[in-house]
Symmetry: C2
Subunit: 197 residues, 2 copies
Amino acid sequence: MRTHTQSIERLVNKFSSLGGVGKKTAMRYAYSIVSMSKHDVEDFCDALIDVKNKLQYCSVCATFAESAVCEICQSRASDTVCVVSFPKDVLSIERAGGYKGLYHVLHGTISPLDGRGPDELRIKELLQRLQNGNFGEVILATNPDIEGEATSMYISRLIKPLGIKVSRIAQGISMGSDIEFVDEVTLARAIDNRVEF
Amino acid sequence: MRTHTQSIERLVNKFSSLGGVGKKTAMRYAYSIVSMSKHDVEDFCDALIDVKNKLQYCSVCATFAESAVCEICQSRASDTVCVVSFPKDVLSIERAGGYKGLYHVLHGTISPLDGRGPDELRIKELLQRLQNGNFGEVILATNPDIEGEATSMYISRLIKPLGIKVSRIAQGISMGSDIEFVDEVTLARAIDNRVEF
């Protein structure tokens, strides 16, 4: 007997299926549910179902939206598109605050090892969007790892013939870090990419 | 904009209401839900509702059960009752394996600071059970902290007049611990409560 009843056991398994939730944490969550009022649990369910029913991809930039076109695409006029791998990256850049342009979500990175080629990503849609619109710059904001670099490299080669400026987010030492402990690759890039004071 | 849409924001708030879930973790869970199939999300909801609908307190020992009487009360014959504060303590003792007796769940501890007196706990029910049945021993297994000690002390005084043996789970150094680092109170008790080799 690991939990009190079968229904608790089942709920523990459901919570375990969320990313990064171990058995003990799942049990804690399940017992939180047990101590909630029935009304609160029904409301929880309603929120779960609601997300699945309402959520769709923005038909322009492919981030999450509750209407055909997301709020950013609806409200901003810009000739700059920032290309990111996942919808969560849009949030991160929005949180940073400085950028006021548009986005394009690829929904992945090129990863031959995982069998993910360029056709799996929304690269075709990006090119169509760039050809049909009047864009001045594409910022490639995939992660600075092997897959992200490869994806950015691949996309930049497709965009350059269109005569649109392509840039890559800067790589260097991060704010608050200690040069003593920065890894060598990052430090080398930070020196290569130095900017005049 | 902290999440993509209102429905995600709402779900994040729901996950945050589970014990010990921060905003970032709640967001991770919400986005796991987003990436689940609709069928899996409905199944998740079903499990949540199921727990609330099926779960009740065992009418004998007051632990969680899906029927009027819990599995332990149904299947064991014993003249020993182990008194614990919460249903989860029943699980812990069952996991330890040695004990084959019955339980009684108080659903709390006496805590004057939180305004919880003896009447809030299932002490009346325990006394009724002991008077109506044929019990040989009551083991008090509340936590070895101030509230748990006070609760055990209080209950032991009520049971002794009934002529039933009352015991308290042993306190001492725990398995695998290092005497150098054991706190003083525990070490003093371990010496006081020494048993003959």
